[in-house]
Symmetry: C2
Subunit: 338 residues, 2 copies
């Protein structure tokens, strides 16, 4: 591998001068600089990032630690993170954790010296996983429970969004509204359930356990849960799924059972993934600005890195927005062309 020494030798200068050329110190004579660049190009030299960060103690890299997220959500959140990171001149080191807590700790330790800060999305395990990781390492929690922690965080307005959607269903006359819950132990799932119940209570409706079905955020889970709900008597008249994937699975199950949406059953989801509007019928949902979520997390992390000293924890909630399409039976404004 060609190093700064090789370039220096062939260009007849010291390594310091080569270093100056590549680290942007604008003090090298133009002529010298050009000669060095030429030699470097010929040798295909590129500075060694590891060595560089060892001395500057800046890696210009952000660690991203995510659970084994599903489809569209993962994609969008990474997009937002990557975009914001590169705007700040950072790269991202991504890791998916499959086995919960121990793995999170181990991964965070492995990132020591490779990243300047970490974005941790840990919706399933408690945030006190942070006890044994190197201190001084700036961390931002994403979509995770933060109670008892002093860590910065960015979350979604889950409860509020769910509450609005369920209230909307109630305003359409529904009283027996079922929910297909998200993965058990998941933070977002719990919050959405909370919003669902709150909306019912707001309207004087008692939440019923039989109308709260387990789900796992997948289409298959939504499909199965919808099947169960159809067997209940009296049937619910509306289904609120804790994410769009499950809502789509539910739509499929209803179609097969000959249940017409929204005439016989209203359906609504959460996230508003791009596909939602292409469903039949187009799916009402709670829009989550997923890529913004990632971008905001990065911005907060970058702040934390800049002012490395302690600061009061920053807590941010990205706003959701009700997107009403025809699947919930509202007198819809029709479907706008994409």
């Amino acid at each position: 591998m060609v190093t700064i020494k090789d370039v220096a030798r062939q260009a007849n200068v010291s390594v310091a001068t080569v270093s100056r050329v590549f680290s942007g110190a604008n003090v090298v004579r133009e002529e010298t600089s050009k000669r060095i660049r030429d030699v470097a190009a010929k040798l295909r030299y590129a500075p060694h990032g590891g060595a560089r960060s060892l001395i500057t103690s800046k890696t210009h890299t952000l660690g991203v630690l995510l659970p084994d997220l599903y489809g569209e959500f993962f994609s969008e959140v990474i997009r937002g993170i990557d975009l914001a990171a590169r705007q700040g001149g950072y790269h991202i080191l991504v890791s998916r954790s499959y086995e919960g807590r121990g793995e999170i700790e181990e991964t965070m330790r492995a990132m020591r010296g490779r990243v300047d800060g970490v974005l941790l999305m840990s919706p399933d395990v408690d945030a006190d996983s942070l006890r044994n990781v190197p201190s001084n390492l700036p961390v931002v929690l994403v979509c995770s429970a933060t109670r008892g922690s002093q860590t910065d965080s960015v979350t979604i307005q889950n409860s509020r969004g769910a509450r609005q959607m369920v209230s909307h269903l109630i305003s359409l006359g529904h009283r027996r509204i079922a929910i297909i819950k998200g993965a058990s132990g998941n933070y977002d799932a719990a919050e959405r359930l909370r919003g669902y119940r709150a909306a019912l209570r707001d309207a004087g409706i008692t939440p019923l356990r039989e109308l709260e079905r387990d789900g796992d955020f997948t289409e298959a889970g939504g499909y199965a849960a919808a099947g169960e709900l159809l067997a209940i008597s009296p049937r619910p008249t509306a289904i609120f799924a804790a994410n769009d994937s499950m809502a789509i699975g539910a739509l499929s199950a209803l179609r097969e059972a000959g249940v017409i949406v929204p005439k016989d059953m209203a359906v609504a989801g959460f996230d508003d993934i791009p596909l939602a509007r292409y469903m039949d019928p187009p799916l009402s949902s709670v829009k989550v600005p997923i890529s913004n979520l990632g971008a905001r997390a990065v911005e907060i992390l970058l702040q934390g890195i800049a002012q490395k000293n302690g600061h009061p924890p920053r807590r941010e909630r990205v706003a959701t927005e009700l997107v009403i399409r025809s699947s919930c039976g509202a007198p819809s404004a029709g479907r706008p062309p994409p």
Copy 2:
């Protein structure tokens, strides 16, 4: 930040001994080892990855350079990559390139010293982007054109998959089969188009330009293209979309136009994303083992890293598989429960 020196001092040993404990050399007396581990835990010490890799010249990290991929595909390929990488004890450094060639080169240079090898997915720009990157850096091309290059690569059996699907449509009696093409300049898109034309010629049908519509791999693109196709006279009787997202957009457009699928128009996609089977009607597609694609690329890259010396280029194509559901009007075997 606490370093190996701090641990050594507090544990009354030399840095060398601490190093031995953390690098797994099993030569330290149990008693000493325990004392060191205790001190390290108290101090929350974690070895500095950058410094470590500087001397071992191993980063245990793989660079992953992807275009701004869409949704499900991105998610799945990363899943496969991450899984295989972590099995080999590697992390992944991900970067999305938004602006094509120059950015690819720059990113690859920035990865020097941070990664042991690179996975490059460059379906839009030619693979000779590799001219100016550090030599000796093992690279595997994913879903990219490889002509004229000596680089290892993993691609999809695009042409074969498309050909099979279109042949299937022909076998159902269709003669006027339209295609909604993928993004222009895209390698996979070009290959799928090639397979489409080959299937037509196999059956003695002349490919018509008016039946080849531009698309961009998005739902919106598929929606628009399907609208155009409906205006052609005589109408095509089948639409083959170069990916599922566009097929889903097309289904939506057809539905709005009152065209019944598959009675009035057959539709098929490519990729077989999880959602395909939940569409109405369930979407026939060419299944691509996306996460396998990523995993295989990692395995090949790891081989390349192990035997650093030159080797004949490894070229691999992951197999596709026809998945026939009801959207193309075949006497379907019904829809299996998820």
